[in-house]
Symmetry: C2
């Protein structure tokens, strides 16, 4: 037997799929009594030097009209034309597996509905955490439990930058330059450093657990470009480090989603996820904490997750999973970020640290000084304060000249 | 609809299963359109105060002869009579889910074959890593990849002890006493501290990946009771900590299995798995490193994993997984521990640290002094040495009076 597939986009991930398929022939045969055959590759470019060069087609209709192709791997990235291509595949009776987090986070509702209508599957294990198999776990092993919260390092580029800032004392700019030189950061790193990549991933994970797909505007998203070596040093004195964390909170019949830099205590295993690795921690009602760690990107890890999705369609395992019926998360379902509360790290520039701490106590009440501050600075950790209150305090000027505010993970 | 089940053994785990079933009614109904009903509980004791008191039976034949019971949860522990009871359930056409690592590690081959013969399932997610869903992941998401190695903290009791030795400078004895007081260690902690619990778990995980079940005698297993605060302090100066690690190595057409205390560098996320938590790291050919972290024991986490096994039988997901055909690992398949090589930490008592290091260099060759040794000690880290060679060196007396030897994780 042989299952014909097509790959859309023959870049880093697409060519990885072909390689992983080559290298997994034996286990795939053991699992499925079948072999995966890459019949077509859709790409604008030609690949004369690739052993797959002769399978490149320029026109999607070649793939759509070939009834032997049952599964399509979308590794194009971006919303358009990936959306139209995926919809066309569904309409032609083909299941699609994808690594495209932007597409799933943006159009997941429409895509999931269309897949259902056409009795095909849409799987996206590779869209979050690269090779980390957290989505299938959430949909099978952990699905009888209730996810209370998710906190994760979901972007390898920014985690590399923050790791280098911590270990080498590099500035954000220098660490970013290093990440670019190593190919970990793109020429335009906005989507990574401003948190949009992590935002897409927490949108997807929260949809897996709630069936509600949030819009980007519903996720408070803060850049990590303002994190400084002073912040890193303060976190270290406090007993932790700074990480860019994507968070989901289950608030009963509502949810909260946010992406921002956080102080993470060393007691939390997330604080030790370094370099380009991702770590996704779920807190469940009965199972308690479960964390997944692995490579969040890269050709082979990402492609492996896509091949595991192909295999689950071939074995029929996907049929035993609950069919996802995603809806748009309406504004009532997503609580405004301003209503959440956090403990905060705050640094102010001040000639008298004592005076600065005293005024903070007058304003906020529960304030604990962080010792060892650099000259000319006062630093403190607050008790729990509502985000809206904190913004009032900051806007009022009552805390003095504030240099940095970072929320603490709990 | 309703699926009747029976629970064998109503202790910590067994009563947890009943609770988890109560609390997961809605998600289970969503996943299966069905409800799990605890029809019988087999226990020698009576539970007059439990809401399940009226379901307690004393005789397995009541369960065996009730054709409505399709799934049995074995939470008795121990090999006998759990083995006979499980076999009887299979013969009566009932699938069994278990948390019994000792039984799976000891009789997994016979049990798996019997389950197959009777067209029923035998699932054991809860037997390794409690609530951590690593076994289903290995059998689904990661099954098309090749596991090159597994290293894990698989025993919460010993990890608690080692964590307290590190963080508080406690001796092994004091940390063990504390673990007993907190209920983390049993009155007779032998199975935990001498590594037998971790041994069973690495036997199970290696069988999941190779289909070969090793015997206890094929796993080099070293106690962690000899780890001292001096070792802990040395590991810290070296840049890591001491953990009890269960290891599997894929050596092509052979494997190696061993459980022993290891120096684990801080750069490895396993070094930061603390307290009673477990961490299991797989290194895969294509997916690279994946680590699972979570509660390796406890009533609800363990019971949750068992309920997830029940659900996977109910949804039919298990049918899509490859049926495990386990064989006994013959002695050719398991390489002798003596043939493996490691880097070692060695501490000798010596009046002259310089002399001790020089003799070590003469004997071993590649030796690096570890600085900061306590008075009267010399400490060094070796390059890679075959275990058999190292034993020769130690037996020859050429390294002087050796106080401690700990292998380094790599």
């Amino acid at each position: 037997m042989m299952t014909d597939i097509a790959i859309l986009g023959f870049g880093v991930v697409g060519s990885g799929i072909a390689k992983v398929i080559e290298r997994s022939v034996l286990p795939v045969r053991r699992m499925t009594s079948d072999t995966i055959n890459v019949k077509y590759i859709l790409d604008k470019r030609d690949f004369p030097d690739s052993p797959y060069g002769d399978r490149v087609v320029k026109d999607l209709t070649v793939i759509l009209s070939d009834g032997d192709v049952k599964i399509v791997c979308e590794a194009m990235g971006g919303v358009h034309p990936a959306y139209e291509f995926t919809m066309a595949c569904f309409a032609a009776g083909k299941s699609v597996v994808t690594s495209n987090k932007e597409l799933v986070a943006t159009c997941g509702v429409e895509l999931m509905n269309a897949a259902k209508k056409h009795h095909v599957h849409y799987l996206f294990e590779a869209s979050v955490g690269g090779g980390i198999p957290e989505i299938r776990s959430m949909r099978t092993s952990l699905a009888m439990d209730t996810v209370l919260k998710i906190d994760g390092i979901m972007n390898g580029t920014t985690n590399y930058i923050l790791t280098r800032m911590k270990s080498e004392g590099l500035s954000f700019e220098d660490a970013l330059a290093e990440a670019k030189a190593l190919g970990y950061a793109e020429a335009d790193p906005t989507a990574d450093v401003d948190g949009y990549d992590a935002q897409r991933k927490i949108i997807i994970l929260s949809a897996v657990t709630t069936d509600r797909l949030a819009a980007a505007e519903q996720v408070y998203t803060e850049t990590m470009t303002k994190v400084s070596t002073l912040d890193m040093d303060a976190a270290s004195r406090w007993g932790g480090t700074v990480k860019l964390i994507g968070s989901f909170r289950n608030l009963g019949d509502k949810m909260a989603l946010f992406v921002c830099p956080r102080f993470v205590p060393f007691a939390d295993p997330i604080s030790h996820i370094d370099d380009v690795y991702n770590g996704i921690k779920l807190t469940l009602e009965m199972t308690s904490d479960v964390m997944y760690y692995g490579r969040g990107a890269g050709s082979y890890p990402t492609a492996s997750a896509m091949v595991s999705d192909i295999v689950s369609i071939m074995t029929g395992a996907v049929k035993a999973e609950l069919h996802m019926k995603w809806h748009r998360a309406d504004d009532d379902f997503v609580v405004p970020f301003e209503t959440l509360d956090f403990c905060y790290y705050v640094r102010t520039s001040s000639h008298s640290s004592h005076d600065a701490i005293e005024s903070a106590k007058n304003v906020i009440g529960d304030v604990r000084e962080l010792s060892g501050s650099p000259k000319g600075c006062a630093e403190f950790i607050t008790g729990r304060v509502t985000e809206s209150k904190m913004r009032e305090y900051l806007a009022s000027g009552a805390l003095g000249s504030v240099e940095s505010v970072i929320r603490i993970l709990d």
